[in-house]
Amino acid sequence: MRNISAGALLHPVALGAVVLLVANDHVLKRVCPGWLTGKLSDFAGMVFFPLFLQGIWEIAAKASGGFAPSRRILLAAVISTGVVFSWIKLTTAGADAYRYGMALLRWPMRWAAGNTDGRLIPCAFTQDRTDLLALPMLAVGYWIGAARCSIQRRRTPASALMP
């Protein structure tokens, strides 16, 4: 996976987290709404989202010349995910930015489906401070990404690192 840009997302735990997010939001929340299903998506998101951000960076880097899995980029992705998630969950400005941001991202899909009259209407959003319990799951995302960086470092010959 080390030479595959965005390869961290192919890790079984990362793929499992994405599947869990979709299953929880589309099935479990309706079948058994409650505290646990309210948290599962956040837990899943904290695992895969930093790897998703890292993957986007790697794809962009590869397109512009080349890339190597970077622990620094991974750490920046983990920290920014945690900071933005906390901002959204704790502040009115963050929640509003999320509501309108998601509406903006969803608008093209709704427009293509003929499901909008053109207005940008914000998504509803449940702001729950206890969702911050999901933050420690960032460590799982970091662990998956960092293991990939370590393999890359071990297998890169010292001469290749010379200028």
Binding site: S5, A6, L21, I59, M109
Partner: protein, 161 residues
């Protein structure tokens, strides 16, 4: 014949695309629309220390109403506002009492079948003898759906009765 690393690279691209789509498609708890309602001033005098105002909220979804009050002319602590829904509200509807300049949020109906007109009462009272107070009030009703794609079909209106 496609090589293993090329296959994995395509899978990684697909994983990024699907993860992005899943994040956008699922990270939404529903839709809501808000409607501004009546906005006016009421003077509470010694001769008429309390006033009762009635409104109608028409909606086809779960709904709540925000009442914003601003008291002037005397100490706001002497003015009390009570906001409560009529008997046709949802079984989970609330009732709010506020003192002075305040913003309150009151659930009118939070059941799956809230499609009806719900009456709403705003009671304002002045407890300071011999003084007059001016209360500016504004109502805003919000309807909310659990579906992210309902924002064009849900509606809410609030008007005086």
């Amino acid at each position: 014949m496609i090589g293993r690393s090329a296959f994995l690279q395509i899978a990684a691209y697909l994983a990024v695309a699907l993860t992005g789509a899943a994040s956008i498609a699922t990270s939404c708890d529903g839709s809501f629309v808000a409607a501004s309602g009546p906005r006016a001033s009421v003077t509470l005098t010694e001769a008429q220390p309390s006033q009762t105002l009635q409104f109608a909220v028409r909606t086809n979804a779960k709904s709540y109403v925000a009442a914003r009050l601003h008291v002037s002319g005397m100490s706001p602590a002497n003015v009390q506002a009570k906001v409560f829904p009529g008997p046709n509200a949802g079984s989970d509807a609330g009732e709010v009492t506020a003192v002075g300049s305040a913003e309150t949020n009151l659930v009118l109906c939070w059941e799956s079948t809230c499609s009806r007109t719900i009456s709403l009462t705003l009671e304002l009272s002045n407890s300071a003898p011999g003084q007059s107070a001016v209360v500016d009030y504004a109502l805003e009703a919000t309807a909310q759906s659990d579906s992210c794609d309902d924002s064009d079909s849900i509606f809410v209106e609030v008007s005086p009765l």
